[in-house]
């Protein structure tokens, strides 16, 4: 059997897996009856329905010819990793080191995700964005955001 459409094949597989996963997860909760539907009633039905639709997508991907095979194409690992790492790091640094440190780190790591990176530009961008964010979020909107590293604040 040959895969006719790469994208649809993997999309179908994803739908089947997630649908079955949710349906299986629902079996841990009470199903109830149609007259008194329990917490598992709705997600179980949805999960099965999703798996069925996923199977249809899969079936189509294996039978209907698509021009060029609909390849997924390469994965841009560099931006993908940099962006995800940036956001995750920020989740830790903001509460611990405060906005004044966390934002420049965020901007500098994020900037490395692009094709062109210059330290000067990235630092200038970081400075502008940090001041700007302070103006909007802390001064303007009065949001409670930790500003300085927690060990300095105490």
């Amino acid at each position: 059997m040959k895969i006719k459409s790469q994208r649809d094949f993997w999309a179908g597989l994803m739908f089947v897996a997630v649908g079955l996963g949710f349906a299986w997860g629902a079996t841990f909760y009470s199903f109830g009856s149609s007259a008194r539907p329990g917490p598992a009633y709705f997600p179980f039905g949805l999960g099965i329905l999703l798996a069925v639709l996923g199977a249809i997508v899969l079936f189509k991907a294996l039978t209907i010819e698509v021009e060029g095979g609909d390849p997924i194409g390469g994965v841009p690992w560099k931006p993908l990793l940099y962006i995800v790492v940036t956001v995750t790091v920020f989740g830790w640094t903001l509460p611990h080191l405060g906005m004044v440190v966390a934002l420049p780190i965020l901007v500098v790591i994020a900037a490395r995700a692009g094709d062109e990176f210059h330290w000067g530009e990235a630092l200038a961008n970081a400075a502008v964005l940090t001041v700007f964010s302070w103006l909007i979020f802390v001064y303007g909107l009065n949001l409670t955001i930790p500003l300085w590293p927690s060990f300095l604040a105490r």
Binding site: F22, S34, V57, G91, A111, A126, F137
Partner: protein
């Protein structure tokens, strides 16, 4: 006249200094993100949701609405000048608008788009004011079964008109509905799919999903593409005012576009995008006048029609959200979220319980449109300058605003991590050509749908036929079914694909 009284109340709210400022702020921001490719209204509104905690409900919604219709104006600017539609709803504008710019008629194209949009915006405002009250009346007759069927219709409608594969789009809705099941069951109080993570018992934040998929995910996708060469026609924008002949050509197209957009905007799944596609198709079908430029080579009707339609559609898509509490597209889903944040349960009762908010929001749309014409026509030069900002400065800024927004949602890094996870998920969707917008709609409507389904079944003692034996509910379900059948017909299917092909 009730209509006049209501509008008078609305304008008295909209014309307070504070609300004027927020309408202005929203319009400016909307134009800005409309001009910047790679940042759309969905990501922007998601980004701003946390900050509206500090605002009152009315100015907050006025601002968010301004962003949505402001983006329709801004999106056309880039479509015309650099052939890169700033918003998906301006995709068809690029076809003829860019050709006009290449022939040195960028000014006329921009004016046709701006004035057409303004006219459409005025009509859209009146349509909302006129049709919202009767629809609200109807909504009060709805029971749980009707609400469930209406949501089915809304969700199906949202995807039959979207591009791409129908089955995949429906699967994405289901995925969204399932993600909405990660919460504490309202009826039994059982936490579901929480894996003993306390934050998950409150459910995933839809802001985190929206930002991950639409904000971060899109950045990754954009960075993964090779840098493209852009040709900007900035020097040519001198004669803003169109010629007499342009006016004569454009105004029937503006009228048709407005009418089409006002109707299509109110449909579930409708809104700016669908309206502009439909208007372009209609204009192409119209008989050509002698001496008219062919479509695809710079016909002014190809700009005026779709631009009027997308603005009319953007406005009337507020109708189902305001009257029924059911969002017809992803932006409206975020508006529902904004109302919930401000403690307003969206639905037919908003008009009676918060008349100031309801009518003030509607009146502010007219005010905002007037501001936008001024912002976009005489001041076009400023926006064009923005186009020269390279993406490598832009995306870190988007990251900053998204990340801070995520943290301040609950003052907790948990949402930041969820955003990071959904960045990867969004990228996978992009790679597998799965449209993420239906997922967001499903996610918003999921808990509401479940509650109404279970209440309807409780009332009917477990009899599923309640959904088809009640005439209103049956009608809605039949409409949903018809939609699927119609777009699956081979002849329509090829037409539909053709229409989307035009856009590429």
């Amino acid at each position: 006249m009730d209509l006049l009284n209501n509008l008078a109340l609305g304008f008295s709210v909209a014309f307070t200094l504070q609300n004027l400022l927020y309408a202005f702020g929203g319009s400016v921001l909307g134009t800005l993100i409309g001009v910047l490719p790679g940042l759309g209204p969905v990501a922007t509104i998601a980004m701003l949701l946390p900050s509206i905690y500090a605002l009152d409900a009315t100015p907050a919604l006025i601002m968010l609405a301004g962003i949505y219709y402001g983006a329709q104006y801004g999106g056309s600017t880039t479509a015309i000048l650099i052939n890169v539609p700033g918003e998906s709803s301006s995709v068809v504008t690029a076809i003829d608008g860019y050709q006009m710019a290449r022939k040195g008629r960028a000014g006329a194209a921009l004016a046709a788009a701006g004035l057409g949009s303004f006219f459409a915006g005025c009509v859209g405002t009146i349509v909302i004011a006129a049709f919202a009250p009767p629809l609200t009346e109807l909504a009060f007759k709805f029971g749980p079964a009707e609400y469930f069927s209406l949501m089915v219709l809304g969700l199906i409608g949202a995807v039959v008109l979207a591009s791409g594969s129908l089955v995949k789009a429906i699967a994405m809705i289901l995925l969204g509905l399932l993600l909405g099941q990660i919460n504490t069951d309202v009826i039994s109080g059982v936490p579901r799919y929480s894996f003993d993570i306390p934050e998950l018992t409150d459910g995933l934040g839809f802001v985190a999903i929206a930002m991950g998929v639409f904000g971060f995910g899109e950045i990754i996708a954009n960075l993964g593409q090779p840098p493209e060469h852009r040709e900007v026609f900035t020097k040519d924008v001198k004669d803003i005012w169109p010629t007499k002949n342009d006016f004569k050509m454009a105004w029937p197209a503006v009228l048709r576009g407005t009418a089409l957009g006002s109707i299509l905007g109110t449909l579930p799944g409708g809104g700016a995008l669908l309206s502009s596609f439909a208007a372009y198709t209609v204009e192409k079908k119209m008989r050509m006048k002698p001496g008219e430029v062919a479509f695809g080579q710079g016909n002014i009707r190809g700009v005026a029609g779709p631009e009027s339609a997308n603005n009319a559609g953007a406005q009337t898509s507020f109708i189902p959200m305001l009257t029924l509490g059911i969002p017809p597209n992803a932006v409206m889903a975020l508006m529902v979220g904004a109302m919930t944040i401000k403690g307003i349960q969206p639905g037919p009762q908003v008009m009676t319980s918060n008349p100031q908010l309801f009518w003030g929001l509607i009146a502010s749309m007219w005010v905002g449109n007037a501001m936008l014409v001024i912002l976009n026509l005489p001041l076009i030069g400023i926006w064009i300058k923005l186009l020269t900002v390279p993406y490598r400065f832009l995306f870190p800024a988007i990251m900053v605003f998204c990340s801070i927004g995520l943290y301040t949602l609950n003052n907790n890094p948990f949402d930041v991590y969820v955003g990071a996870i959904f960045a990867v998920v969004g990228f996978i969707f992009y790679k597998l050509s799965c449209e993420p917008a239906p997922l967001l709609l499903g996610f918003i409507l999921g808990p509401m749908m479940e509650e109404n389904l279970r209440r309807a079944l409780l009332l009917s003692r477990g009899d599923w036929s309640t959904f088809v034996s009640r005439p209103l509910s049956a009608g809605l379900l039949v409409a949903a079914l018809l939609m699927i059948v119609v777009v699956s017909l081979p002849s329509i299917k090829s037409k539909r694909e053709e229409a989307f092909q035009d856009a590429d």
